[in-house]
Symmetry: C2
Subunit: 270 residues, 2 copies
C-alpha cells in the first residue's frame, strides 16, 4: 500500500488534481442526507462520499469531531472509513487538530501517524503549545511520507482574536509558516492550514511566508470562497494549495455527490 500524502503529492496532482473532499457527518448533514444520527449513520455517510470520490479526487478529509460524538462506536466507523479510503488509493487527511506536549503529543502522533487502526496519510495539528512541541508528529510523519498540517490562519470570523497577536511585529500565523518552512523537507513533512474565506492579507501571512509549503485550505464551497478564485487568493503559492470542500458536495443530495464533485472540479479547471 502506497502511503503518505506529502511524498506523493505531485503524483496525486498530476493524475486527479489537488481537490480534497471533506467527510463531515454533522447532525445537520446526516438529517439532510436522510441518515440516522448514529455511529451507523456516519459510516454510511462516509462510504457514500468515498464511493463518489474514487477516480474524481485523490484526497479526502474526515472531520474527526463528528465521529467522536459517538465514542468508541463512532471512532470504529472512522477506522473503517480511513481503511477503506486508503485501500482504494485515496490519501486521508485526519482533520483532528490535535496538540499537546511531550509524551502526550507522542500519543497523538502514534494514534494518527503510527501503525494503529487510525493510521492516516496526514494530520492537522494545533500549535498553541509551541511549534517544537509538535515534533513527535513531524518525526512520525517523516517515517511514512505523511504530512502534518499546522494551523496557521483559520477561516472563521473570530480567528483573529488570538491569531493577530504578534511577536516582534510578526503575526502568529506568519510565525507558524516560518517554523513550518524550516522543518519541512523534500517529502512535505510539514504543511500549514490557511483558511480561504479571508484573503491572504487579512490572514497575516504573505505568499513569501508560504513559499514551498503544502497548504491545506478549507473554506471553499459552502463557507464562501469559490474554487475559481484560488489563484487570486493564493497567488504564487496556489500551485501547492489543497482546497477542501465539504458541505457543498451534498448540494445535489447524497445520491448525487459525484455530480457536485464534478462541478467543483470544473470550477478549478480540472
Amino acid at each position: 500500500m502506497v502511503t503518505g500524502l506529502g511524498s506523493r503529492f505531485d503524483t496525486i496532482v498530476e493524475s486527479l488534481g489537488p481537490l480534497c473532499v471533506g467527510i463531515d457527518p454533522s447532525a445537520d448533514a446526516l438529517r439532510a442526507a436522510g441518515l440516522s444520527d448514529s455511529a451507523e449513520g456516519v459510516l454510511e455517510f462516509g462510504r457514500a462520499i468515498l464511493a463518489a470520490s474514487v477516480s474524481r479526487v485523490g484526497i479526502v478529509k474526515p472531520q474527526v469531531a463528528y465521529f467522536e460524538r459517538f465514542g468508541a462506536r463512532g471512532i470504529g466507523s472512522l477506522e473503517m472509513i480511513i481503511r477503506e479510503a486508503r485501500e482504494v488509493g485515496l490519501a486521508v487527511i485526519a482533520d483532528a487538530k490535535r496538540g499537546d506536549i511531550g509524551s502526550t503529543m507522542d500519543g497523538y502522533a502514534d494514534a494518527w501517524l503510527g501503525h494503529g487502526p487510525l493510521h492516516s496519510d496526514a494530520l492537522t495539528v494545533n500549535p498553541y503549545l509551541g511549534f517544537d512541541a509538535l515534533e513527535p508528529a513531524f518525526s512520525r510523519a517523516s517515517i511514512h511520507g505523511a504530512t502534518v498540517f499546522v494551523l496557521s490562519a483559520t477561516s472563521n470570523s473570530n480567528a483573529e482574536q488570538l491569531q493577530r497577536a504578534t511577536i516582534s511585529g510578526k503575526s502568529l500565523s506568519a510565525l507558524v509558516a516560518r517554523f513550518a518552512r524550516e522543518r519541512t523537507g523534500k517529502d512535505n513533512t510539514v504543511g500549514v492550514v490557511v483558511g480561504a474565506t479571508r484573503g491572504l492579507a487579512e490572514s497575516g501571512v504573505t505568499e513569501a511566508d508560504l513559499d514551498g509549503l503544502l497548504i491545506l485550505a478549507p473554506g471553499f464551497g459552502a463557507q464562501g470562497a469559490s474554487l475559481s478564485d484560488l489563484s487570486t487568493i493564493f497567488g504564487a503559492a496556489s500551485t501547492r494549495v489543497i482546497p477542501s470542500v465539504s458541505r457543498s458536495v451534498l448540494n445535489d443530495g447524497i445520491d448525487n455527490i459525484s455530480r457536485s464533485i464534478d462541478r467543483h472540479r470544473k470550477e478549478m479547471g480540472l
Copy 2:
C-alpha cells in the same frame, strides 16, 4: 448521579481538597507498571488509579491521547474509565485539548459534554481558533454544571514560542484569562489551564488576571513543581487551583498508588 465539576467544586474541596490525579497510560508508564501496551492495559491501568483515588481525591484527569493510540478499542476503555469514575462520585476532567470552529466544535462539545458515552464533568480546550469559537463547549458545559478549561499558559519549555505573543501589550495567556473571566458564571463554566512549573510572572498572567477563575494546574510532581509551593506560585489565586499529579503517583509502583497519593495530600497539608 451528581454531575459537573464547576457546580460542585466547593463541595469537593470541602470534603477531600482540590487535588486531581491524572490517568496517563503512556507506553512508558504501562511498561513500568508491568501492563501490556494495549487497550486492555490502559483499562487496567486506569482502574488501578481509580481504586486508589476513591475517598482520597475528588477529581481524576484521564489524558485522552494515551487511549486514542488504540483507536476505537482504546476509546472504549476510556468510556469505561469515565463511567466507572463518575459512578463512584469522582469528577472527571477529560484532558483532550480539543478546539475547532462552528459545527465541528459543536461535535466536540457533544462528544465530551453531551449525553454520549464519553460524557465528562470537565474538558480541556485549545483557544487558537479564537475564544468565541469555543462557545458550543461553554453552552454545553453550563447545562450540566461542567467546566471548560481553556489553555492559557502551559508548563512546557517552548510554550512561549506562541504564548508570549501580544495584542496591544497583553500576552495571549492573559487575554485567554480575561475572556474566561467575562464568560464564566457562578457555576465556574469556564476555567483556565496554567502550568505550574514556571512561575506566574513567566507565564504572562497575573493573580488579578485569574481572579475568580478555576485554574487547572498540571506540572506538579514529576514535572518539577512541588505541591507545597502551590500558594507561593499562585498567591491569592491559589484557593481556586486544581493541582494535578500524574507520573509521580506511580513512584511506589502500581500496587502502591494510594501511598503516593497520600504523600501528595500531605504535601498540600490535607
